[in-house]
């Protein structure tokens, strides 16, 4: 029988590392989605999630409501992402540059270009909308679940998702119709 989040947190608080590993397993996707929305870089998102869960393990006693574990970790992820951005402010990176995986052929060049356009379109969204999009389309979360994680209403999530879809469509339409 699958243990509830509250039970896993209670066990983890008693230094049950396996229970905490189960929490990581359950919420790593959510944390990655939040981290990616913030950093717009998959490797950085992976680093931040790794660090966030280690901090969560060390500070588990400060979690007031065990049922809000995912929300708590997401907040930690967001803070770590902000720290990373601050550290890198002194050396800004060119967001438009995406190194190719290999020397592209004609069709792989098209695919690479498509990916670049999708990436740019997602980056063009504001932070909160980006989080809604990544949580919905990567983790398949319902609006209510996303709302709980982000601390907004489900209606606000729906509205942001709808706007984001329209914005993405506008940005991608010309390119994909050309292709």
């Amino acid at each position: 029988m699958e243990l509830s989040v509250e039970e896993l947190v209670s066990r983890a608080r008693l230094h049950d590392a396996d229970a905490f590993a189960e929490l990581i397993q359950r919420f790593e996707g959510v944390a990655l989605a939040v981290a990616y929305a913030q950093t717009r870089n998959a490797a950085d998102a992976g680093d931040i999630v790794q660090e966030a869960f280690m901090r969560a393990w060390q500070r588990l006693d400060s979690l007031d409501d065990p049922s809000r574990f995912a929300h708590w970790v997401s907040r930690m992820v967001r803070n770590l992402a902000i720290d990373l951005r601050r550290r890198r402010k002194a050396l800004p990176l060119d967001d438009s540059f995406d190194p190719p995986d290999s020397m592209p052929g004609a069709s792989s060049m098209e695919i690479a270009e498509q990916k670049k356009q999708i990436d740019r379109a997602i980056r063009s969204l504001d932070e909160l909308s980006r989080e809604c999009v990544t949580l919905r389309y990567y983790e398949n979360l319902a609006s209510k679940e996303i709302a709980d994680l982000l601390g907004i209403t489900a209606a606000a999530v729906d509205m942001r998702l709808s706007r984001a879809r329209n914005q993405l469509k506008d940005r991608l339409k010309p390119f994909f119709e050309e292709v």
Partner: protein
């Protein structure tokens, strides 16, 4: 372009980028926390078994000793490995006496060995006297020269009021 197409494109893009990152956090946690805890647990278990092992070994040794004592009653008496023979008498060694005509030299020096307290807790000083007596003589039978050295040390405790 339909909403569904957009959603599929985004989904594919996110899966392609984020799936390779999945599992990193758990692996890191396992490496940093679970593995060291397991190693600690194994050490603790090993340590907790040690006293038990010692008790078992002690009991086994005791059983062996008691069994040996009990069985020795039924064993034939032990025979000596070899007979012990009385010691052979050796001719007495003749000690050559120092003849009356010898040369004698006496050397000595005094060393201040520092302050001490006597048993009455009175302040005192130790003076060490080191001496060397040397005797030389010629054996009239063999014509050989003999030298006999006799070192000796004396210590004197001199109380402060006598100094």
């Amino acid at each position: 372009m339909r909403n569904h197409d957009i959603e599929e494109l985004i989904r594919e893009d996110l899966v392609e980028k984020l799936d390779p990152q999945k599992g990193r956090a758990k692996q890191h946690f396992t490496h940093q926390v679970i593995d060291p805890m397991d190693r600690h647990l194994v050490r603790a278990q090993t340590a907790s078994l040690r006293p038990k092992n010692l008790v078992l070994i002690g009991v086994a040794m005791l059983v062996c000793v008691v069994a040996g004592m009990y069985l020795s009653r039924f064993m034939p008496a032990a025979k000596p490995v070899a007979e012990v023979k009385p010691p052979v008498e050796i001719a007495p060694v003749e000690i050559v006496a120092i003849p009356s005509d010898y040369e004698h030299a006496h050397l000595q020096h005094m060393i201040d060995a520092g302050p001490v307290r006597t048993s009455d807790n009175a302040p005192a000083r130790i003076i060490r006297q080191e001496q060397l007596d040397r005797y030389n003589w010629v054996d009239p039978q063999t014509g050989g020269t003999f030298t006999y050295l006799l070192p000796s040390t004396n210590e004197y405790v001199i109380e402060a009021h006598r100094q």
